[in-house]
């Protein structure tokens, strides 16, 4: 044990650090605060040279302006690869719902993209991760090496060839062009493999002896045991896919197909100094994803930590 003065010295250091930490936390949260309050400020308040730290009056003008811009049907979905089978070579497109402002449509597109990427990633990665962890088969070592190498490479360097591939598959400028590469990204398989290692081999053996088939064993024994991992992967994929701006930028271009991130970028390019309008768009993009994050925070942080510790 240290002497009394040492203890005092330490607590002084701790108190100072905590104060600094709280100030830093406020600074980190500030941009988000500025987005949300900015969205509700009047034009005069936004363009004031002395900033209003808190909106004097809350107005909906910015949102009204955002929602008055271009309209599109609420729901439109091209069936992937359908253009190869239709007579006129155009893809099959489903449209539904009333005509809504483009910003709402961007939000719908983004939710669809993130949810679809999440579902496909979770299912395919859980299956593949289980096979890699629990099955001994030819080519296993090679495949695993390939996955680890692919993970270490920057995703963006493959975007140019990916774009050409997508246009030759007639997927360019459809939401699938963003979803499919996200599903293929091997991080999920890697994470699921780490979790599947924890499933005891005896349980699988016992199931086999009881006469359960491969599919039944996987669904009834493996899936319940790797559930926390699947939860972490789901939320992780949802957030990264929502925020993967570069991929969306390259694959999508027509106004009705944009995601919310692209939409704001477009707003910014067209009205570079209308900060109120841009903040309204930014809060529309940020609030849903932050809400999702806060609700599932526990799974998410556990998941990244577990993936890293085991990997």
């Amino acid at each position: 044990m240290n002497s009394d003065s040492g203890l005092k010295h330490r607590s002084l250091y701790t108190v100072v650090s905590i104060i600094v930490l709280v100030i830093l936390a406020i600074l980190f949260a500030f941009p988000l605060y500025w987005i949300i309050t900015g969205a509700f400020k009047t034009n005069a308040s936004i363009n004031a040279t002395t900033p209003d730290w808190f909106p004097k009056e809350w107005v909906m003008d910015n949102f009204r302006k955002l929602f008055s811009k271009q309209s599109a049907p609420l729901w439109e979905l091209a069936v992937p690869f359908s253009s190869k089978f239709t007579a006129d070579g155009n893809p099959l497109i489903f449209t539904a719902g009333p005509v809504v402002p483009a910003a709402i449509r961007w939000l719908v597109n983004t939710v669809f993209m993130a949810v679809m990427a999440m579902i496909l990633t979770c299912i395919t990665s859980a299956m593949a991760g289980y096979a890699l962890a629990k099955k001994r088969f030819r080519g296993r070592a090679m495949l695993f090496t390939l996955i680890v190498c692919a993970m270490a490479l920057p995703k963006q360097v493959i975007l140019i060839p990916l774009l050409r591939e997508m246009s030759s598959l007639s997927l360019y400028n459809t939401i699938w062009a963003v979803i499919f590469p996200t599903v293929g990204w091997p991080f999920g398989v890697f994470l699921m493999k780490q979790f599947s290692e924890g499933v005891p081999g005896e349980m699988l053996e016992a199931a086999r002896i009881d006469g359960a088939g491969e599919a039944k064993t996987f669904i009834e024994i493996v899936v319940p045991m790797i559930k926390p991992g699947v939860g972490a992967l789901a939320i992780f994929t949802f957030i990264t896919s929502w925020n993967d701006y570069f991929m969306q930028l390259i694959m999508l271009n027509s106004t009705s197909k944009l995601t919310i991130s692209l939409g704001i970028a477009k707003l910014q390019a067209e009205n570079s100094t209308d900060f109120g309008l841009i903040m309204a768009g930014a809060s529309l993009a940020a609030i849903p994803i932050i809400t999702v994050f806060i609700i599932f925070q526990k799974y998410f942080t556990q998941g990244i930590a577990m993936g890293a510790v085991k990997g």
Binding site: P31, R138, F180, N243, I289, F293, Q297, T301, I304
Partner: protein, 303 residues
Amino acid sequence: MAKSSVATGRSKALVRRETRSAYLFLLPNLIFFVGFVVIPMILCVYTSFFDSTMGKDVEDVFIGLKNYTELWQDPIFLRALKNTFVIVLVSVPAVCIFSLWVSALIYRMKGVVLSTFRCVFYLPVVTGSVAVTVVWKWMFNNYYGIFNYVGKGLGVVENNINWLGDERFALWCIILILFTTSVGQPIVLYVSALGNVDTSLVEASEVDGANNIQKFWKIKWPLIMPTTLYILVITTINSFQCFALIQLLTSGGPNHSTDTVMYYIYYSAFKLYRYGYGNAMGVVLAIFIALLSAVQFKLAKEK
């Protein structure tokens, strides 16, 4: 279940069955992984040896290493490479040290306080690069931005500074934003690593009379080394890929002072339509990242 060298006919059949069922489980993922990751990677390397420009009538022409030799004579690329290294060399150590400091302070706090702090530092990551970028653009604005206002209030800034339009400041503004969006994940990782340190080791060192500094560097630091390594690698990769910030804030300007390799790849491929040249840059970038990761692994292993 190790493969025995004296495999009988029965176990061979078993291996075959196991292999078949394994590939059935792998198939859905392999379609996406091979189709949209592996094939583009191969195509990326392949096209980098061609003069592939969109809008030309002729087919791609094989030009060997010409794209690569051109790179080293391209002053914009060299500047972009230099900027990329400045970003990596500043932001990676800063992110690691800062996140370690924050985690060491918060990891013993109570559940709610801990998750609040963790959440706050993770917020800029979740908010999304575009939303974060547009608000920073406003804050850095010449006339309406709070940076100039606060700077003048504190007496640091005399006249309004055009932060993003000034070669002296633009890159540092980018690094600052990149920093705020990079510390979230390392903090989550460090908090969990520090929480997993075996308390009996720490208590034993206390009995031996170790002070706080010794306890940290002699006991905890070696134990969290794998986490540090992982953080170094992911932060390096993220810093190399810095793109959205640049595209939305400065488009590489003023005078290429904020060009990074990632942005220049985008510019060459999608503004100049020189796919082959862009791919060659992608290959060079991937090699740099692979080399740096290998060096980091080696250094960490030696320790």
